[in-house]
Symmetry: C2
Subunit: 413 residues, 2 copies
């Protein structure tokens, strides 16, 4: 009994959720009283831990709710799809994704719908990696990547990204990547655009990743969740359309972010049929299928009204630029310009409180929720991540309060 | 490379989905041509692999769609709940489940909403069991139980249920259960009412399970998915309300079946706070949360219009009785009367084709889909499972075609 408890508790030790985006409500901040300086800052609460899908921020794609209702009215056929998702919807989406990524997608055997992209990531990793394997992951990258690898009983081999490089290119250390492959990593998991940095990998970087994967027989899981939300002048390269064996690449996308459809829990994995087949077997015991009626909402995807995507990108770019202006106006704050996505990952100067405490003070004193950098990399303790897919005015006011708080807690202030 | 592929393929070998309910569409039945006798049987197609949630069968709870739309209109607060689910909805549901089960439920630390009960089962097993453990499971029982245990790297120790016992009681072999615990099983996973048999455990059986769990320090995961759909005269006993340490019991329920809300993917686990805490950590990397807007639909649960549940039970009982009449009119077919739930698990006589082939012929020649008994127990090769939550008339016509097919393929016919 004792031994069992210890083993299961050990297995879960690396899976903390207290600082994960959206979990702040479970924190108890009694200990903060001793750290706090000054009064609360006035202003509307801003939750930068995730995007705001509300009516005065970035609401879901037009028509999404109507398609959900249509699906509901279809009844059993929509409620009980194949585990990998409704066949007709897969056909539709496969064709659109083939056009978007520049390489064929077989709806029959190379695509699976999942309850959110998180689920696609989980299924992809657990369908590729077994206990004792080595998996190359980027630092910093999406906070769950490390945890997924550890839960699979595998070992994460970190590869650094130059957080402060300004493009072109993400600044991945390709030498370190090759070292990881040479040392035995046979899976590489990364997001492009990178979350939290917003960097997009250059054509040369993606070509190098394809070449290294071929040389060392590596399977690549690439999370392209933000691949549609690209700012002016950003060139995007799809790994799956490169000179690489298609059975080596599993691509993950979904309509939760750019399209603000997160409340429907929809994601998908496509590519390597052998991996998709295992993902379906695993989904059968994990969650059966993506929510049936929600699947119908995918019919809007890549079929939005004219100019909808361009307008959405322009609106995000305007917020990005204002927030960069706010942060760059603060002495000692450094921040890279994101090429894509809706994240900023600024580095803060030395403060009179630990950065972890500062993040909690931001919430308690300034009504601003951000995610600590350590969720994304052990080397990012001085960074915070903001999802700026928010009401524009509130986002700027929230960022300004972060700036004021940095001044208040600055060392030597 | 080769070694890795072999290990991952091995891990997935036991996770077949070809015969799982709802997956029949992926089967290719070219080989059946040589086995088929006679012409196709006329009649509307009936899919007994799952319930029919259509308008002329058992549609979702009144008001469900409206609550979904309300959730959608709430925006971000409903889309991005805590990983364990919206706090206000947990409060509501906890109170109702406490009343239903007869024991307190803490909404704060003893309940998690999940994308379907399948997900609650997955999270509960993976949060309790680690590689090398032994887990007692019932034979026959829900088809995923064995697969979940194997995926966790644990060993399933089977405990027989008397499929043909007529109540009171499910007919579990309590001696075998104690043997399993004595031999080292520290987790027991079972469904009550049993899926596929429809048996309800007697007060004495549940008391004995509680006593054995206390004696041997066993954690019990009990899947009570069908606990509301009980036929006249059936007495139901909630394990969690017995004389048992609450930290040993994790109960799973959800509104997918009796309430026909499967298309929303909603389930929940409640009980042991330490297990719920691990389930949330795991959910953070598996699927983040139950679909946000769908969570709002739980407000209907245990708050249906007056007589709604009684009417729904009566309608199912009438179908059950008609189907039992059809099957018992066929020489050599044996079937237990279900006390609860919407499953029949009849045993067929010897046929001129293997039973696995007969199940495929049923689909090809009679337009009737059922699930092979071997999904539920290796000893149930001669059985088929039917979910009779269907349009009444079509269900009877479908069952009659099964009867005609048994006559056609009977040995010595």
């Amino acid at each position: 009994m004792q031994a069992t408890m210890t083993r299961i508790e050990e297995k879960f030790q690396g899976l903390g959720v207290d600082s994960a985006p959206g979990q702040e409500v479970r924190q108890h901040d009694d200990a903060l009283a001793g750290l706090a300086i000054g009064e609360a800052l006035e202003g509307p609460a801003v939750d930068f831990s995730h995007g705001d899908v509300g009516a005065d921020a970035f609401p879901p794609t037009p028509g999404a709710l109507g398609l959900f209702v249509d699906g509901y009215e279809r009844g059993g056929a929509q409620a009980y799809t194949e585990y990998r998702g409704d066949g007709a919807i897969r056909e539709l989406v496969a064709e659109r994704l083939a056009r978007f990524t520049g390489a064929a997608v077989s709806a029959g055997d190379a695509m699976i719908l999942t309850p959110g992209t998180q689920s696609a990531l989980f299924l992809a990793v657990l369908s590729t990696v077994t206990a004792g394997d080595q998996v190359a992951i980027v630092q910093p990258d999406y906070f769950a990547n490390r945890k997924l690898v550890e839960f699979a009983g595998a070992r994460a081999v970190p590869v650094r990204l130059g957080e402060m490089t300004e493009g072109p290119g993400a600044g991945i250390d390709l030498g370190q990547l090759e070292d990881a492959f040479r040392a035995g990593a046979r899976t590489f998991l990364f997001s492009n655009p990178n979350n939290p940095v917003g960097a997009v990998y250059s054509p040369e970087e993606i070509a190098a990743i394809a070449r290294l994967a071929e040389t060392y027989g590596v399977t690549v899981i690439v999370d392209q969740l933000y691949a549609r939300l690209r700012y002016a002048g950003t060139r995007y390269t799809h790994l799956r359309a490169q000179d690489i064996d298609p059975s080596r690449v599993l691509t993950i996308m979904g309509p939760s972010k750019t399209e603000s459809l997160s409340g429907f829990r929809l994601g998908l994995g496509f590519g390597a049929p052998a991996i998709v087949a295992r993902m379906e077997k695993l989904q059968a015991i994990v969650s059966l299928r993506a929510p049936g009626y929600c699947q119908a909402v995918l019919r809007t995807w890549f079929a939005e009204p004219e100019n909808w995507l361009a307008d959405r990108i322009a609106a995000h770019q305007a917020i990005r630029d204002d927030l960069l202006g706010v942060f760059r106006g603060v002495d000692g704050v450094r921040v890279r310009t994101p090429d894509a996505g809706s994240y900023l990952f600024p580095e803060l100067p030395l403060l009179t409180v630990p950065h972890a405490g500062f993040v909690r003070l931001l919430r308690a004193q300034a009504g601003v929720t951000v995610t600590p950098g350590t969720e994304f990399s052990p080397h990012a303790g001085a960074r915070i991540r903001l999802n700026f897919s928010q009401n524009h005015e509130r986002a700027v006011r929230g960022a300004s309060r972060i700036a004021a708080m940095v001044e208040r807690y600055r060392q030597g202030a």
